[in-house]
Subunit: 146 residues, 8 copies
C-alpha cells in the first residue's frame, strides 16, 4: 500500500534520514516529503521579495512563502510524523500537529519521555507516540506492507 508521509519538526538531528533509510531497506512504497529543513535558506525564503528593516516583516514574508509548501504537503499526505527535539521552541511542529488534527490527518509524534507533559495536548490527538526513529520505521513498515 502506498503512503505519502510528511516529516515535520526538528531540523538539527538526522531523524528524517534515519526514517527514510530505515524504510528503504524494506522497499516500502512510501513517498517522503518535508518543509525546507535548511535553517538559513528557510529564514531567507522571502528575501527576494525585497528587503525588510524590521525582523518581524522579514520573518513574516519568509514564513508565508514556506507556508505554501507546508500547507500543500500536509493536505497531500496520508500520515505526518511530527518530531519534537529537546531544544528550541518548535512551535511550528505543534502548529503542524494542530493543522493535521483539524483536517483529520493521522499523525505520529516522535519525542523523548522527558517532554510528555508539555506535549500532552499534541499527543492526545495523535495516533501514536514513538520515542525512536526505529519505532516510526516499524509503524510505517506495518502500515505499508500488505
Amino acid at each position: 500500500m502506498e503512503f505519502n508521509v510528511y516529516l515535520s519538526g526538528e531540523i538539527h538531528t538526522d531523524w528524517r534520514e534515519q526514517i527514510i533509510q530505515g524504510c528503504q531497506k524494506h522497499n516500502l512504497n512510501i513517498n517522503f516529503c518535508s518543509a525546507n529543513t535548511d535553517h538559513e535558506t528557510s529564514d531567507s525564503a522571502g528575501d527576494f521579495l525585497g528587503e525588510e528593516n524590521q525582523p518581524f516583516w522579514r520573518d513574516h514574508k519568509s514564513a508565508k512563502i514556506n507556508a505554501i509548501k507546508t500547507k500543500t504537503l500536509i493536505e497531500r499526505c496520508d500520515i505526518a510524523i511530527i518530531r519534537f527535539g529537546d531544544k528550541y521552541k518548535q512551535w511550528n511542529a505543534a502548529f503542524d500537529a494542530g493543522y493535521c488534527a483539524a483536517l483529520s490527518k493521522p499523525y505520529i509524534t516522535l519525542h523523548d519521555e522527558a517532554i510528555i507533559h508539555p506535549l500532552k495536548e499534541v499527543d492526545a490527538s495523535a495516533q501514536a507516540w514513538a520515542t525512536t526513529p526505529t519505532q516510526v520505521v516499524e509503524a510505517l513498515k506495518y502500515l505499508a506492507s500488505n
Copy 2:
C-alpha cells in the same frame, strides 16, 4: 456585532482578565470562553476514569477530556486570541493556532517581541500580532462596534 472569542494559551498571567474587563468597559457584544485555565484540575481532568501508573496515560486521559472542550470552543468561536508567554513550552497554544488555521478561523497572537522568530509560522497564519492585552481590546472594540 456579536462575536464569540476563544482565549487560548498562557495560564500564569492575568491577560484573560485584562481583555475581558477591557471589553466590558466598552459594553461590547462579545462572549469570551477558554479551556480550563486551572493547572491542577486540568491535569487531573481524567482521573475520575481510573488511576494510571504511567504518567503518559494519566496525561493522555486528561488531555483528551480537555480536548472535548477545546475543540468545541474553537469550532464555535469567530476569533481566537492566542497568547504565548515567556515561559514554558506552550505547545498547546501553537496546536490551537494550527487547528484554527486549518479551519480558517481568524486568530490574533499576543506575545512579546523577543519571541517573534520562533513564532514566525504561527504569526504567518494570524490576522494580527499584538504585544499587549490593550491592543487586543482595541481590535475587539473596533470589530464589535457598528
Copy 3:
C-alpha cells in the same frame, strides 16, 4: 458552558436516566437527546407507510425513519455518549460511533471491562472510556462548568 449531548446505544438499562439525573443535580447547562429508546415503537416506526411481508423491508422502512432522527441528533450534538451493554449485538451503537468519528464529533464510550477487546476500534477513536454512568456525569460536570 452549554452542551448538546447525544445518548446512543443500549436501551435495556437505565443508564440514560442515571446520567440525566446526575447532571440535573449539578444544574449543568446540558441538553440531552436520544433516538427513540422504546423497542416496540422503534421497530414499527415505518409501519404506517404500509405493511411489508418480508422482515427485511419492514426493518428497512423503520430503520430509515429512525435514521432521520439519529442523523439529525448526531449532527446537532457536541458530544455523544455511546453505551455498549453486555447483551445483544448493538451494531447501531458502533455505527453511531463510526458516524461520529467521521464527522469529528467527540464521543465517550460507556462499557464494562469485559468487552474492551472487541471494542478496541471504537475506543480508539473515542475521547474517553467510562465504565459507570457516574463517571460520565463527572466528565460532563467538568466540561460544562466554567
Copy 4:
C-alpha cells in the same frame, strides 16, 4: 470503469478471496484493499511502541495504529463491502459502516438473513444487502463493466 473497493469486517472465513477471485475471472478494473486481516499481528500492531501492562492500553495502541490504515483506505475507496459473520461482536465492521455513511461512501453489506434485525440500522444506510460473495461479485461486475 475503475473502482477502489475496501473489504471490511469478518476475518475468519475466505469471503475476501472469493470476491477477489470472482472479480479476477471477469478482468474487472478493481483495486481491492483491506485492513490487516491477520488477527495476531493486528492485535500486536502497537507492541513495538513499548509494552503495556493493562490490556486496555495495549489494545488502544494497536487499534490506533490500525486506524491509520483503515481511515486512509475508507477515504480512498469508492465502495466498501462490509461483512458480518455469525460469530463475534464485529463492532469494528459496524464502525466502518457508520464511518462510510457519514462520508457518503456507498457500501454493500454481506450477511445472512439470520441477522437482519440487529443490522437494520447498518443496512438502512447501505446501497445493497448481499448474502453471498457471488452476489457481491455480480454487483461489482455490473458496476465496473462499461
Copy 5:
C-alpha cells in the same frame, strides 16, 4: 424535538396545508417552509429587474431569484418532503431531491404508486416514500415527539 421541514414540489393541490394542519393538531415543534407556491408571482419574480423579450431569459431571471430562497431553505432544513403530483414535469422537485441527496439532507417523497418507476432514482436516496399527507404527518409526529 424541533425540526425545520421544507415542503418541495407540486403547487396545484393542498398537500402542504394538510401536512401543516395535521401537525398543528399534535402541537409538534416544527417550522414549515416552502418556496413561493404562487405560480404567477413565482414566474414573474425577476420582472422588476427589467423586461426580457426572450422567454428563456425571463424564466432565467425569475428562477435565479427563486433559487436564492430555495437554496437557503434546503440548507436550513432538517428534513424535506418532496411531492410529485400526477401532472406536469415537476423537474424542480426532482432537482431539489438531488440537491438534498448531495448535502445528505434526509427527505421523504410523497407520490402515488403509479409513478414508482420513473421516480426510482429519487426514491432510492429518500428516507421514506409516502402516498398520503397523513402518512407524512405520522412520520413527523413520530420524529418530533420525545
Copy 6:
C-alpha cells in the same frame, strides 16, 4: 486540458454518441462516462440480490445499485452534460442536475426550446443551455483546447 465529462439523462436517442464522436474528431483530451444506458439491464440491476414481488422494492434495489455508479461518476467528473428529451419524466436527469448543483459541479443542459419553462430551475443553476449535441461539442472543444 483534460476533462472528465459525465453524460446524464435521455437514453432513447444517440446524443451521447454524437457528442463523443464529435469530440473524437478534434482529438480532445476528454474522458466520457455515463450511467448504464441500457434500459433493461438497468432496471434489473438488483435482481441478482433476490427476487421481489412488489415493484417498488425491485425498482428500489436496482436504483440503489445504479446510484453507486452515478454518485461516483458525478463526484469524479469536471463537467456534466444533462439531456432532457421530449418524452418520459426524466426525473433522474433533474435529480443529477440538483446533485451537481449542490456539489458545485458545472453542468450544461441539452434540451429543446419547447421545455424551457418547466426546466427553468434546472437551467438556472446550469453554466449553459444547448439545443444540439453539436453545440456541446463546441463547448467542450473550446474548454479542452489550450
Copy 7:
C-alpha cells in the same frame, strides 16, 4: 422568512441606506451588516498595533483586521449585495464576490449598465444583476415575504 444580508462594496454613495430604509418600510425580517464603511477608520484599523513606515505594511495590518469582520459576515450571511460604483478600483468588492461564489453564497450585483463588460465574470456567478437600490429592495421584499 428571516435573512441575513451582507452589503459589500462602494462606500461613497448612500446605496446602503436606500436599501435598508426601503426594506424597513416593508417591515421585512432582515438583518443587514457591512464591513466598516468609514474610509479613514478602515484605513487605520491596524494602527493601534504599532506604526509602520512602509505603506504596504500599514495597509496590510489594517486590511487583515478588517478581513476578520468581512470573513465572519460573509460566512454568516444568507445573501450578499455587491455594489460597484463608477469610480475607484473596488477590487475588494470583486474579491468578496469571488469569496461568496466559492462558498456558494448567493449574491446580487448592483451596478450601472456601463460596466457590464468588465463585470461579466462577477455577474456570471451572481443570482441577479440590479441597477438601482429599489430593485434590490424589490428582490429582498419578494424573498423575505411569506
Copy 8:
C-alpha cells in the same frame, strides 16, 4: 516537488511567458495553466449557443462558459499567481483571488507599488506580493526544489 500553478489576471503583457520560461530554465516540475487569454475568443465563448441582442446576455453566456474552465483550474491548482496590470478594471482577477481565499488555495499577487492601496484586501489574504515575474520565478524555484 510537483506543483500545479494557475496564472490569473492581466492578458495584455507577457508576464505569463516570462514566468513559464523562467521556470523552464530551472527544470522545475510545474504544470502551468490559465483561463483563455485571447480576448476575442474569450468574449465570444458562448456565441455558438445562439446570438444575443443584449450585450449583457452575450457577456453572460461567454463568461459562464469560461467560468467552467476557471473554476476547474482553481480547484485543481496548488498555487495561483494573480496579476494586476496598470490598466482596466481586472475585476475577474480580484474575483479569482477571493475564490482562492475562500478555498484556502495559496496565491501570490503580482502588481506594481502604485496600486498597493486599492489591492490591500486582496494582498491581505495572499501568501506573498511580488512586483516582477522574476520574483515569482524565484518563489516557484524555491518551492518546487527539494
